[in-house]
Every structure is written in structure tokens, then in C-alpha cells.
Symmetry: C2
Subunit: 386 residues, 2 copies
């Protein structure tokens, strides 16, 4: 019996794990920099990086020269750390990103669906399967192993198998079987957008906020103290089921607020009110309405203002329950710069102080969010238990 402990997949020290996480989260850095952030001494940092380097979990990326003194080696996550695939299974496009754990983009592709899908269905499932398959065949050895696969879906996502039964989430797997042994991360697309807004968008620096999406459908992603709120059934943020209409003698109807605030009902109201004899024809869709309103068309402005008031009431209810302090508006209609002032005014009048901003990211928010969540899920697996 000889001693081969040193060659076994040695469990990493805490400092090595922390250093790896740091490199994955905030990108390449030198040992002194990481040590500074983590509060670790230079010898410890050297030992930690040595551990990681031996496993090829990190690589030297370059040398950096400060204003004074010896130049330092800069490290980044290495080949053995591998890569992740992130998919935004949207209703019009499937967007796919392949990236390293520190978010270096390895591959990216967008597939446009033949028609807009209202529900998660077999067609979308098949499209995701195709997209993932095309990534798998394009995979290069210098990407390292595939560590996790994340999919953002326009559906409620529950955690426990029992709760999944009542959900649409598993429809995504009707035509798509994930690669064997690969961790799959499934998350609601609005939640993903919220994550991205916090990291790269309008909510940077806010540990608590709500992302409210107003488009064809409505939804919310809630971040409280840097934690995504999912709820017992994955239904947190499903504001399409707020009690509405509700008044003395008026009983709420399930899902009515989603229909009422959704873009289709909005356009119906706009068309009904549109001056029939005017020079300008009624807008065909929400984008057209926004364009007219932003150009100053009085009817469009007025109808959008009414709509913004309803969104303001919606936001007021959210504020009354979780008091996020910041609400980021997104989605087809929600992204309009005309909304925030009105929404803010109404919400603040009805409830407690909130700042209302429009989204800081485009349609990319969802992919970027699922990418982050996928990486976060992959890291502990790479580092073992912890």
C-alpha cells in the first residue's frame, strides 16, 4: 500500500474555493487583488491558486504592471472549469449563449420561431433541442467540460417534483432530453430578467427591487436582499393573478388583471377610443402605439397615460406587500420611457416611496440572467459539495 493521497482528486481548501468563486464572479484578477478582497494573506493566496492551477481550474491569463513595483500574474478560470450553455426559450426567439464560468462568450446564436407562441409547447421544446444539439456538435475541446445547462422558460417553475405536476415547466422536455449527467437549471424568464437587471442593468447596486414586465402578458421578478424570491410553488411574481376587478360589491375574476393590462386588451381599448375621422389611422400594435405616443400624438399619449395609471396601481400593490424601494419596468410596453414618471406618481400617491425606472437591458436580459444562474449552479458542483 503506497501513499497516493496527493494524486487523488484532493478536496480543495476553503481559500481555494473562495478564490475560484471570486475569479468566476468578477473575472480575471491577480493574487494580491483576490487576497485583498477575500482578506487572505499572500502565502495563502499562492497556495490556493497552486491548488487550482494543478487541476487546471485556473490559468495565467497575462502579466499586469502596476504603477510601481514588480508585475503580477493575472489569473482567470481555466479549461478544466469548463463551460455552460444558457438558453432563453422565448415566445418569438430562442437565444443561446455558451460561456465560460467567468462569462467569456464562446458561442452565441439566435433562432427565430416561425410564429409567436403563447404557451410553452412542443414546438419550442423541439427548437431548444435543436439549438442545444448544434452547440454540442460545435463544442471545442478547449471549452473544457460542459458543467450545466440553463433554460429560461415563460412558465412558472416549481422546485419539488410534486409541485411540478401542476406546472407547464416540464413541457420543455417533451422533445428535448438534456445530455446525461449534466445539471439542468430551469428558471422563469421574468426572474432571469430580474437577475440580469441587478447585475448589469437598471438595478445595479440595489439588493432589493422588483422587476415588473408589462407586455402581452404581465409578470414580476422579485429580488429581496440579493435573493430571488420564488415562493412555495414557484408562483411568486405571478402578478397576473392579483385580485381584480375588486371594489365594494365587485368580485375579482381569476387572471383578469393579466387580460386587462396585457397588450391585446390595451390595443382593443385604444382602437375603441381612436378618433374614426382623424388623419392618423389607429395603431396596429403596441409598438405602433408607443411610437405615436412618443411622437406626441394626443390620443396615443392619453391612452398610454391611462394605461400607465393602471400599471401604477399594480406597482402600488407590489409596494404595499414587499416595499422594494425600486421598481424596474420592462417588457414590450413597460420599456417605454413615457411610463416611469406616471407609474411613479401613482404608486407613490397610493403607497410608499418607490423609484420607478425603465429597463437598462434590451431583450438580452433573460439570457444574461439565466447565464448567471446557470454559472451559480455550476460552481458548487465544480468545487465539490460546499
Amino acid at each position: 500500500m503506497w501513499d497516493q493521497d496527493k494524486k487523488l482528486p484532493a478536496s480543495l481548501t476553503d481559500s481555494a474555493r473562495a478564490a475560484f468563486r471570486e475569479l468566476a464572479r468578477t473575472g480575471p484578477a491577480t493574487r494580491p487583488q483576490i487576497g485583498q478582497i477575500l482578506g487572505l494573506s499572500r502565502p495563502t493566496m499562492s497556495a490556493a491558486i497552486a491548488e487550482l492551477e494543478e487541476l487546471a481550474y485556473v490559468d495565467v491569463s497575462r502579466e499586469v504592471q502596476g504603477p510601481l513595483g514588480r508585475k503580477a500574474l493575472e489569473y482567470r478560470v481555466g479549461v478544466a472549469a469548463g463551460h455552460v450553455i444558457s438558453v432563453d426559450a422565448g415566445s418569438t426567439h430562442i437565444q443561446t449563449r455558451v460561456s465560460t464560468l467567468d462569462r467569456r462568450l464562446l458561442m452565441s446564436q439566435t433562432y427565430r420561431l416561425a410564429s409567436s407562441q403563447h404557451l410553452l409547447n412542443d414546438y419550442i421544446s423541439q427548437a431548444v433541442a435543436d439549438q442545444v444539439q448544434s452547440v454540442l456538435v460545435a463544442a471545442r475541446t478547449d471549452w473544457g467540460p460542459l458543467r450545466a445547462l440553463g433554460i429560461a422558460v415563460p412558465a412558472r417553475v416549481a422546485e419539488t417534483p410534486k409541485d411540478r405536476e401542476r406546472t407547464e415547466q416540464d413541457v420543455i422536455f417533451n422533445r428535448f432530453t438534456p445530455p446525461d449527467g449534466i445539471e439542468v437549471v430551469l428558471e422563469n424568464n421574468v426572474n432571469c430578467a430580474a437577475v440580469a437587471e441587478q447585475l448589469y442593468g437598471a438595478a445595479v447596486g440595489h439588493s432589493t427591487f422588483a422587476y415588473v414586465q408589462i407586455g402581452l402578458k404581465i409578470g414580476m421578478g422579485l429580488m429581496l436582499s440579493d435573493r430571488l424570491v420564488r415562493g412555495r410553488n414557484g408562483a411568486a411574481g405571478e402578478i397576473g393573478h392579483l385580485a381584480f376587478p375588486w371594489a365594494p360589491g365587485v368580485r375579482p375574476v381569476p387572471g383578469e388583471i393579466e387580460r386587462y393590462i396585457g397588450a391585446e386588451a390595451l390595443m382593443g381599448r385604444v382602437r375603441a377610443k381612436w378618433p374614426p375621422k382623424g388623419d392618423v389611422p389607429a395603431p396596429a400594435d403596441a409598438d405602433a402605439l408607443l411610437a405615436l405616443a412618443e411622437a406626441g400624438n394626443p390620443t396615443a399619449v392619453e391612452e398610454l397615460r391611462r394605461h400607465a395609471e393602471d400599471v401604477g396601481a399594480l406597482v402600488a400593490s407590489v409596494v404595499s406587500i414587499v416595499d422594494p424601494g425600486l421598481v424596474v419596468l420592462g417588457g414590450g410596453v413597460g420599456a417605454s420611457p413615457l411610463l416611469p414618471p406616471i407609474v411613479s406618481h401613482i404608486a407613490n400617491r397610493l403607497s410608499y416611496p418607490v423609484e420607478v425606472r425603465r429597463t437598462g437591458l434590451g431583450r438580452d436580459a433573460t439570457v444574461l440572467g439565466i447565464e448567471r444562474l446557470t454559472i451559480e449552479a455550476a460552481i458548487p458542483r465544480i468545487l465539490g459539495q460546499s
Copy 2:
């Protein structure tokens, strides 16, 4: 220069801190028991307890004999750990508890206010001052030092000084100055009740749930993943500002839902509908209404059912936003056993799966909750930084 490091307030080891916390949270225990729970070895436990015993942070409480083997020493938090004062500054009573960090009751008193107070005011502040003063003079040396003072107030409580300005919270200090150098914990009374329901009441074992209070006023305490949600301005749970009434063409009015669901408006509606020529006179207050309904009076039952439907709509909105999975109903009206079935039915029809239960604690919920929060605030101070 001689070495007196050993006598200085030596910083405790992690294991000692963990052991102390365990003793404070779950009461007296033997070293093997604590070691088991914390996953620490017997030598480590002995060392940890020795550290704590030297500081008089723990004491031997008794010897316990298992079914077999040597008997073990049982430890509990000691004199030097001190005590905390917890006050429920309610609208009708001021309830005060003095307890050790492991919740052994040292003193308890209830002061009945001359009249019911709608708002936090100088009268309440003065009463709190008197109650605390009477505790301070009654203090015994074997209570050890006073570690913290907690007050549950019927007001929104904000954290940062800037945000406190718009709040009523500081009214509590108009006539009351806390003892010098003592940490003061201020918390909303509904939040306190939620904490107590989770620890000792209807939400035991649930890490996520909402406590909804329906009485003269309405309010909510929200617990997500064992963390109390306070919000950016301490306004989380202020459901009195949900958008209401709200329907196509109907604009919400600030605070209207609180007036509409509050007990006064309820009784107004009941009186208006009460059969003028019946044998039974209209109930004078909410308690009388509940008594009649529980006795089977048809009008009372019907009016309570209508009210429960509104509460159901309220709960549905909460579920749509945070999906707590469990809602505990409390407060004067909310505590009625007639409510949960109806509320549950409506909420589940409008939104996502929720269980609805009535409170498991009486009026004591609030003091018990603030007691726990006060202890939790005191422990890190005792153990130093950590």
C-alpha cells in the same frame, strides 16, 4: 510588562459561540447533546463550555441521567449572559416581559391603557417609560446585565435615520428615553406576531409564510426563507395600501382597503343590513358579530362570509406576489375559525395554492415575537462582533 492575555476578555472560539447560541435558542442541554447538534467532538465541546463557563456565560443547571451510562451535566445560559426586556406597546395594553436569553421568564406585567389608542402617541410613550422604569427598579443582581430592550410598536419601522423621518416610529421616544448604552430593538407589532407564529404558533416548521392581521386595522408580516421581510422603507406588509377599489374605470384611493376591511366599516355594513324587526339586536362590535356568527345566526354568518370573501381577495393578491404557501390569519376578526375555509377557497380560486390557518397564539404573539427579536439582537453583542 507581564502577560495578562488570559485575563483579558478573550475572544471566543467559533465553537464556543455556536454552543452559546444553541443554549440560548433551544434551552438547556448537555455537552453531548450540543456536540451532536453542532457536529463537534466531545473534547471541543468541553473546551467550548469551559470558555463560556469561565465568563459565567453558562452555568450547570442540573445533572441528567440517560437510560444507561454515566450521568451528564446539563448547562444553560448563565448570569453574565444577562437579560432582555421586551415590550408590546399595543393600542389597548402595554405588555412587558423580562427574560433570560434562553427565554426563562424573570418578570412579566401588563398595563391596561385608559382608552384604546389609534395612533402611536405621547400617552403610549409615557406608559412604556413607566413600565420599563418599573422593571429597572425591580431588577435583581442575579438577572445579570441588561443586554437589550425591544419594543413592538403599531407603526412602520424604518432602518436608516433618513427614512425614519417619514415614520411614526420615533414618537415612542417622545416621553421615553432608553437606558444609556443599551441596544434598542424596534419592530412593527405585526412583524413580531409573524415571528412568534413561526416559532411557537400556527407556522411552526414553515420557513415561508405570511401572517395577515384583520382587525381594526389590517397588516401583514412576511417571512420568506426564515427571514422577516421589512422592505426598503420598513413598509413591507403594509397591505392597507393595496390598490383598491380597482376596476376598469375605477381609480384606487390611498389606504381605502384598510378602511373597507377594517372592523369599523365592517360593522357599519352589518348594521345597515341587519333585519330591523328581528328578535336579535344588531351586534355592537366585531366580537359580538363573531359570537353571533359562531352561534349560527344567519345574518351574522352571511355578513361574515361576505367579509371573508374580501379577505380571500386580499390573500389572493399576497399569494400572487410572494406565493407564501401558508397564510396565518390573526387579529380581532381574523382569528375567527369561520374565516379560514372561505378565505382559503377564494384565494385558491383566484390565485395559487395556499393553506389558510387561524393564529395559534393569543394576544401574546406580539410580545413573544419581540422577545425573540430582542434576544437575537443581543446574542451577537454578547459574543462580540461575529
